[in-house]
């Protein structure tokens, strides 16, 4: 799906991961569930990584091992891309409501 997205179509954002354990299993599930409520393609990237990962895949998000104190980068492409990025940034900003 994301292979057809042109670079200029992505809407981006980022938020710092506050949890001392980083993006561990429970927050990863919350992020995935929220991402799945949007139609847009959504990807995330750890600050120390170059690869973008499908935010709607619980396996992929958990394997990302995004660390504490670093920004999580988020991008989306599609009709509700802006809303999706805003919602995911807010979730990370609120420390996943943990």
């Amino acid at each position: 799906m994301t292979g057809t997205v042109r670079d200029e179509d992505w809407v981006g954002g980022s938020a710092v991961i506050l949890d001392p354990t980083g993006l561990h299993a429970r927050p990863a599930v919350k992020l995935t569930k929220l991402a799945k409520t949007f139609q847009s393609a959504i990807e995330i990237r750890a600050d120390d990584g170059t690869a973008w990962t499908n935010a709607k895949s619980p396996n992929a998000v958990m394997k990302l091992r995004a660390g504490h104190g670093l920004p999580l980068h988020i991008r989306a492409a599609g009709d509700d891309a802006r809303a999706a990025v805003d919602a995911l940034v807010a979730l990370v900003d609120q420390n996943f409501n943990d």
Binding site: A25, R26, V29, T32, K33, K36, T37, K56, S57, P58, N59
Partner: protein, 127 residues
């Protein structure tokens, strides 16, 4: 609630089955129906076809039921239980080839989005 695939957890241990269901509920929430069974009728380790059938029936939905099992007999007894379900319901029930705890959490996360049984099973098995 019937618009989502349900999850059934089958372990040799009643404690493992209940603990896995607790993890799913706490991590994924209550929007996916989860049933579990474990142990033999005498309270020891094992699995029981009648208990597995009851667990599946308790959360059955035409949308589908994903079954997560642990070792050997849990799988064979689950296969028997699925075959014995009435009214062709077994066609909407699938065993996931995935580790029971991790697979249950992954399957429930996928199911929460309203995904198909096939998508739920794939997510569990990709772990």
């Amino acid at each position: 609630m019937n618009d989502k695939v349900s999850i059934v957890i089958v372990s040799h241990s009643a404690d493992v089955a209940k603990g896995t269901a607790d993890m799913v509920r706490q991590m994924v929430g209550d929007d996916v129906r989860v049933a579990f069974c474990g142990g033999n009728p005498d309270g020891g380790l094992g699995t029981d076809v009648a208990a597995i059938m009851a667990a599946i029936e308790s959360v059955y939905s035409p949308k589908g039921v994903a079954v997560l099992v642990d070792l050997g007999g849990a799988e064979t007894n689950s296969e028997v239980a699925i075959e014995m379900l009435p009214d062709g319901r077994g066609a909407n029930v699938q065993i996931c080839n995935a580790p029971v705890v991790e697979g249950a959490v992954m399957a429930a996360t996928e199911a929460a989005s309203g995904a198909s049984l096939e998508a739920v099973r794939k997510t569990a098995e990709d772990f």
